[in-house]
Amino acid sequence: MFNIALPKGRLADKTCKLLKQIGINTDEVTSDSRQLVIKDEKTGIQYFLVKPSDVAIYVEYGVADIGVVGKDILLESNPDVYELLDLQLGKCKVVVAGREDFYEDKERPLRVATKFVNIAKDYYASINREIEIIKLNGSIELAPILNMSDVIVDLVETGTTLKENKLKVLTEIIPISARLIANKAKYKFKEAEINELVAKLSEVV
């Protein structure tokens, strides 16, 4: 019936719990399997477990009809898909953070370390601030500590990592949560089924 792309890890487990609540059996997905394609024979639903940042790609190419993906990734890659529901899972925020003693020198461009290049660019363009982006792929917090950047733009859930590294949140850019997305063409041909799923899910989120 459907092909669903799920992000490997915690978000997949949480999504499976939601699906279970609306009567879709996801036992095989939650078990610690190394299989990448899991098919539930009863419902005909096929699950793909993929890297979180790749979910939108699988959906955009249409091999998955629908998928679950963080809003941060949608903002960053801007895929041409329908965003049908806020699943209210994996809630966090994209923030600007800097050292506890951060003081902004407005005479020169701000150096921003981040893995979210587009979100950072859009945000600073919206407040007319000139920046220099330093693209990193992990341990972003290290950049201001070593004075490689002035600030970072990163995801924050509880703020513990920031605190442990003597960093603080300077501005909140946007709240993030997991979204249910659908391929535009597949949606036209499976509209009734997808809408039914969305309606059921919206009752339990």
Binding site: K184, K186, K188
Partner: protein, 374 residues
């Protein structure tokens, strides 16, 4: 020798059949040069879906561009007169940036344009040909129809700044109710209008019931006249065999400074993106100081080959093995004889792993015979 249509690749087959369909209605083929003046594209940047263009200098120093679009040139060149319609179609390659690879890509396009006095008949004809084009590609298809005036009419009435307008538009395009409600709340938009936007997003595609809802939620004159136009259009297309393939979906939108009136996007079962898109673009004509209407569409041929690959049709029918002592003219005659019987033949001394074949035969002592134990 006539070649069987079946032997052609999907995109070649489709483009031949579409030419026939368009010429039936009197559309003439339009051929354009590979390059155009860059200024044409620069002046109309927003009309192009892709802003990056390959440019180079001509020998006399003018800046030229490899064409990223066909409609702009046709619109600029047309000399349709008042009271007439010029009808053209084209099969051309265009050059655009591919989103995923971030590289320029050559894309095959076939499309048609009607320019001049566009009336209800011409609109019906063009939309009908769009539907027929989709059917040629795949019998499972849908055509999404929208009207620019309906959504812009709603957004104009909001009197919000362009930032908010842009965000709301994005939400409508991605059917994103949750963020739309949030944005509307921040912008202090009244409840009735928010409800109306929600209904626009929630329309489930069925054309008739969608029209009914649209009539109910029309808040102003612009929206009402859009609904009227859609109703007239639906009445006219109702008699064709395609009426069940139409969906009403206001989430498809084109650039508002060029397009007005009816717009549409076509989808087929196997391809994950819209394969056809088009609509009414009087505003572009006005930019070229031409007081006339225009409507047209383009079909993207590029994806067809990939998504409609027919395994069986790849390769040849017969692999014909021969040995070194063969008489060339006898072998040639045998191949021609098999050709005449309708087979595609590949000759080789040993079984080739580069050619796919359905059957293997051998040529020995002037005769074609079956092969045992290949």
């Amino acid at each position: 020798m006539e070649m069987s249509l079946k032997r052609l690749k999907k995109d070649e087959r489709v483009s031949l059949r579409l030419r026939e369909a368009y010429e039936k209605f009197g559309y003439r083929k339009y051929k354009m040069s590979k390059f155009e003046e860059y200024s044409l594209y620069l002046d109309n940047k927003n009309f192009l879906k892709c802003q990056q263009i390959i440019t180079f200098n001509s020998l006399d120093g003018r800046l030229l561009a490899l064409k990223p679009d066909i409609t702009l040139s046709i619109a600029k060149n047309t000399n349709a007169k008042k009271g007439q319609v010029e009808k053209l179609y084209y099969i051309e390659n265009i050059y655009r940036l591919a989103k995923h690879t971030k590289e320029f890509k050559e894309i095959g396009q076939i499309g048609l344009e009607a320019m001049g006095d566009i009336d209800a008949y011409t609109t019906l004809e063009v939309v009908y040909l769009a539907l027929e084009s989709l059917e040629v590609i795949d019998t499972e298809f849908v055509l999404d129809i929208s009207h620019m005036g309906f959504v812009t009419g709603l957004l104009d009435s909001l009197k919000v700044n362009s930032d908010v307008r842009e965000k709301l538009l994005e939400c409508i395009i991605s059917k994103n109710l949750h963020d739309m409600k949030r944005e509307a709340q921040l912008a202090k938009i009244d409840e009735k209008t928010v409800k109306c936007m929600e209904q626009i997003v929630m329309l489930n595609g069925d054309f008739l019931s969608g029209l009914k809802t649209a009539r109910e939620i029309a808040l102003n004159e612009a929206m009402e006249s859009a609904v009227c136009e859609l109703e007239t259009f639906y009445q006219s297309i109702n008699n064709t065999p395609y009426k069940d393939k139409l969906r009403l979906d206001f989430s498809i939108l084109n650039d508002t400074s060029y397009y007005n009136g009816i717009i549409f996007q076509g989808y087929v079962k196997k391809i994950p993106t819209a394969v056809l898109s088009g609509g009414r673009y009087d505003l572009l004509m006005n930019r070229f100081n031409k007081e006339m209407g225009a409507i047209g569409f383009a079909v993207n041929l590029d994806e067809l080959g990939r998504y409609y690959q027919d395994e069986k049709e790849m390769g040849v029918d017969i692999l014909l093995l021969y040995d070194e002592n063969v008489c060339a003219s006898e072998l040639f005659d045998a191949v021609r004889k098999l050709n005449d019987e309708g087979y595609r033949v590949f000759t080789e001394k040993t079984v080739s792993d580069t050619v796919k074949f359905k059957k293997i035969l051998k040529f020995q002592n002037g005769k074609v015979s079956e092969v045992e134990n290949v």
